[in-house]
């Protein structure tokens, strides 16, 4: 594809990173900022995970053993907010920062100072959110969807949570702008749009989704704020407003948001499978079009989260049909991944194992998603553990597996050392088995009639909840292996070659740079043929 020329063309002196802690505060380097994002995400993954273990401990048996129901609601709310905004989104932003410039042959992101700012807003946003735990009345407890009027019953936690969301929104929008500008302007000669790696394509579309929906979310929560503190009645029927209006605004953001979490996962898996199948990605252009159609469709299906609010019949039917349509491009993606594996010469290193598990289990979550798109059936499924199972299947063995796969895949490139393959595989098997013990039984408890977001339940749901809780604890503690493997690889290990994986050099520019890459990634743009 290209030749790296290591000649010393640069006339400026090659200033490396600053020393010590300030390096991380002032950095404008895409790899440093990527590392900051990824580290933050990993920490928040454990914070949100600890909250889910509080939930699963309480649900292990019927009866209330550990926490007050009010605190339980705070845990479900914060768990979701932290996992979505603190773990998965920053993790993908970290991958984008690290990999997009390298994958398109650029020296850095287009707007490095903006990049620094978009990261450094995050710690302040999370501090605001976490501070609510220590307030009178506790943290927000109305669920991550923050539906009024319930959410307005919260005390001072509400403005803190909302300002936190504003900061997160500003951060995401700036990151998205940076990614779009980088992809449009910083590509190496010959890197045409239809040659972009799938990970870059999926992030480009994700960035557009972010810019379009984050302002809607910020607006909706601001309306909550004025309803509570400034006497407006956007969502208050007594003043001529409508509580369901909030739900429409929220899900106009919320549905694209779930694709913001999953499209980059599609991208990651589309990088990994061809590498380990030693075969080009099947149907590259249909992958691009499928991603774009999923992105577009995501804007016109939001009310399938609201089939029980009493929409007019025509509305129910429209949202049913539109939602079902998403199955077509999603199916295309799955078929393409299987076709990529077909007649390849596969090996099963840890990233490939996670990627294959992603295809299997994400598809499974896709099936339950299709079931729930059917509005009359959803009159039963809605707000039960069936949906809890569904969205955890697409987000945990979906998005989170993609993130783990990406980490193993690119870790040797980032650190210059191979990770411990034996521990990686152990991590995979423990994770893949426990995730199913954790979430699979929830399909049954949901169908059998267990509503979501309850701290205690009727005794006929006891078996499935006990299984889920056991799975949750195994899953949670297995992730410590992951942290250990990462730290071990950072500290040392067998040196990684430039291409890291056999034949990977054919699958992307990142495998043509040294491992680890130089501080300014591509100082001389590679020529892509």
């Amino acid at each position: 594809m290209s030749a790296v020329t290591h000649e010393d063309l640069h006339d400026h002196h090659d200033h490396g990173p600053a020393k010590g802690f300030l390096r991380w505060v002032f950095t404008t380097n895409h790899k440093d900022i990527g590392t900051l994002y990824l580290t933050t995400a990993l920490i928040m993954f454990f914070v949100g995970g600890a909250m889910s273990l509080v939930i699963r401990a309480e649900l292990f048996q019927p009866g209330l053993q550990f926490v007050d129901p009010g605190f339980f609601n705070q845990m479900t709310t914060l768990h979701a907010l932290i996992m979505v905004f603190g773990a998965v989104m920053p993790a993908f932003a970290g991958l984008a920062n690290w990999m997009i410039p390298i994958m398109i042959g650029a020296p850095d992101m287009a707007l490095p100072r903006l990049n620094n700012w978009s990261f450094w807003l995050l710690p302040f946003a999370f501090a605001l959110l976490a501070s609510t735990l220590f307030m009178d009345g506790g943290a927000p407890a109305a669920g991550w969807t923050l539906y009024p009027p319930l959410v307005l019953q919260g005390g001072n936690n509400l403005p803190f949570a909302i300002f936190s969301i504003h900061l997160l929104g500003i951060s995401s929008i700036m990151a998205a702008i940076n990614i779009i500008v980088t992809i449009f302007n910083m590509r190496a000669p010959g890197m045409t749009m239809m040659k972009l790696p799938m990970f870059v394509w999926t992030w480009l579309i994700t960035a557009f989704l972010l810019i379009l929906v984050m302002p809607v979310f910020a607006g909706a929560v601001t309306m909550l704020l004025t309803d509570k503190f400034f006497g407006t009645s956007f969502f208050n029927a007594a003043g001529g407003g409508d509580p369901v209006l909030y739900q429409h605004l929220f899900w106009f953001f919320g549905h694209p948001e779930v694709y913001i979490l999953i499209l980059p996962s599609f991208g990651v898996v589309s990088q990994i499978i061809p590498t380990f199948a030693r075969k080009p990605l099947f149907g590259y252009s249909s992958m691009v079009y499928a991603t774009a159609s999923i992105g577009l469709l995501s804007f016109v299906v939001w009310a399938h989260h609201q089939y029980t609010v009493g929409m007019p019949l025509a509305g129910e039917l429209y949202f049913t049909y539109a939602t079902m349509l998403i199955a077509v491009p999603t199916g295309v993606k799955v078929f393409n991944w299987v076709a990529t594996m077909w007649k390849g010469a596969m090996t099963f290193e840890t990233p490939m194992l996670f990627a294959i598990a992603f295809v299997v289990l994400f598809t499974f979550g896709g099936f339950t998603g299709l079931m729930m798109s059917i509005s009359p059936a959803d009159l039963q499924y809605h707000d039960t553990y069936f949906i809890v199972a569904h969205f955890h299947y697409v987000l945990v063995p979906g998005a989170v597996f993609a993130l783990i796969a990406a980490t193993y895949f690119w870790l040797p490139k980032w650190t210059g050392h191979m990770y411990d393959e034996r521990l990686g595989k152990l991590h995979f098997w423990l994770t893949a088995i426990s995730v199913n013990v954790l979430f699979f039984p929830q399909h049954f408890s949901g169908l059998a009639g267990m509503p979501r977001r309850i701290p205690d339940y009727a005794v006929q749901f006891a078996e499935f909840n006990a299984m889920s809780s056991i799975g949750a604890f195994i899953f949670g503690f297995s992730q410590l292996i992951f942290v250990y493997v990462i730290i071990k690889a950072i500290r040392g290990g067998q040196p990684a070659t430039d291409e890291v994986w056999e034949g990977a050099a054919e699958h992307g520019l990142e495998w043509q740079l040294p491992s680890p890459p130089p501080y300014h990634s591509w100082e001389v743009a590679p020529l892509v043929k």
Partner: protein, 377 residues
């Protein structure tokens, strides 16, 4: 993969031991034509998904088993096939059409609330249900039964297994006749709730300030249980629903006793409203009214939840002028404090105001007689 999951499931079940006899794996078929149509639709989509799953997972498994480098495979180089790609776009589209047609039929059925025989208004409260029979003037609240309520307290040490219908039992069930088309209209007094009885096949959100509707025609007499399905605050998990479907004759008999009781209660209330009560009488009654209506937010000890719900203990309202105190209880205040003039009678209001002024160590010393409570509607 599926097989592995089933095996895993079975293993984990064994691990937990003594599986409860009642546990179920699937949706209930329910007791209405609509619920059975929804069940059939559910099974139909489920089998379609299983069929697609078998093909996709089958191909994937075959590929993983055979297309391995360790088997000396030389990787193929193909990377597109327009014909194949068109086929796997068009076929799923056709499968979706085959799902959309029955889905549309069932949804139309679910929305047809016309030609009903009777109407029940359901109002969601934090955290109980109110049932109003619009045709017969019967009106009552339905809350979690006392035994479940005792057992569900944090650290109660009562084993839920020993409580019959733990968390799924109420003091006053909704009683309805079989074979009648019942139209339900839903609304809420505070936040959004959702009324869900799986045996009826649906749930419907109850939204403050708005009315939603749904219907059911129950085939078999029986007791059908459900729960609030929309997060509605601290005790969301503790507002069950019980529907008792009776034969027409039994239902009419129930209706007659209810009507007689309603009249008797109204007469009693009129007499009581003109009666003069002593402080201990009002305190005793007031405590019961407080615990049923106020304690959820202001707490049984009157200390409220700082930041969310103000305390009654030592509050300027309970220790201030009695007229203003009465006005807040009767008419409500702000978005969160509902007025109780429509849900409580004069005696109840007088009692609870008196209780709030003299309980929790407030010891204000004055009391409110029912005759001092202004008439409402």
């Amino acid at each position: 993969m599926e097989r592995t999951k089933l095996l895993l499931g079975a293993a984990a079940l064994g691990l937990v031991g003594n599986a409860h006899a009642e546990y179920a794996l699937n949706l209930t078929r329910g007791v209405t034509q609509l619920s059975r149509d929804i069940y059939d639709l559910h099974m139909y989509i489920l089998w379609v998904c299983v069929a697609i799953g078998v093909i996709v997972y089958g191909l994937l498994t075959y590929s993983v088993l055979h297309h391995r480098k360790s088997k000396g495979v030389v990787p193929a180089t193909f990377h597109e096939n327009t014909k194949l790609e068109v086929v796997w776009t068009v076929i799923p589209f056709l499968i979706l059409l085959a799902m959309a047609v029955p889905a549309t039929k069932v949804m139309i059925e679910a929305y047809d609330t016309s030609a009903s025989d009777m109407t029940v208004k359901v109002t969601g409260y934090q955290w109980k249900w109110r049932y109003t029979y619009l045709d017969d003037g019967i009106d009552f609240f339905s809350t979690l039964d006392a035994k479940s309520n005792e057992a569900r307290q944090l650290g109660s040490k009562i084993n839920p297994e020993t409580v019959e219908h733990y968390l799924l039992n109420v003091d006053h069930p909704l009683v309805v006749p079989v074979n009648k088309k019942i139209r339900f209209v839903f609304t809420a007094a505070d936040v959004i709730h959702s009324w869900w009885v799986p045996a009826l096949g649906w749930k419907k959100d109850t939204i403050p300030g708005f009315v939603t509707e749904a219907w059911a025609r129950i085939d078999e007499p029986g007791v059908y249980r459900g729960q609030c399905a929309e997060l509605c605050g601290r005790d969301h998990g503790f507002m069950p629903i019980v529907v008792e479907a009776k034969s027409e004759a039994d239902y009419q008999a129930w209706l007659a006793t209810q009507k007689a009781q309603t009249t008797a209660k109204a007469d009693e209330a009129v007499t009581a409203a003109s009666k003069s009560f002593t402080l201990p009488e009002l305190m005793a009654k007031g405590e019961a009214v407080y615990n049923a209506n106020c304690a959820a937010c202001h707490q049984a000890n009157g200390e409220g939840i700082p930041g969310n719900f103000p305390a009654i203990k030592g509050s300027p309202v309970a220790l201030g002028p009695i007229d203003e105190h009465l006005s807040i209880v009767a008419k409500g205040k702000g978005a969160m404090m509902p007025g109780f003039s429509k849900t409580l009678d004069k005696v109840d209001i007088a009692a609870v105001v008196t209780y709030q002024r003299n309980g929790f160590g407030n010891d204000k010393g004055d009391l409110l007689q029912p005759s001092q409570v202004p008439s409402e509607n």
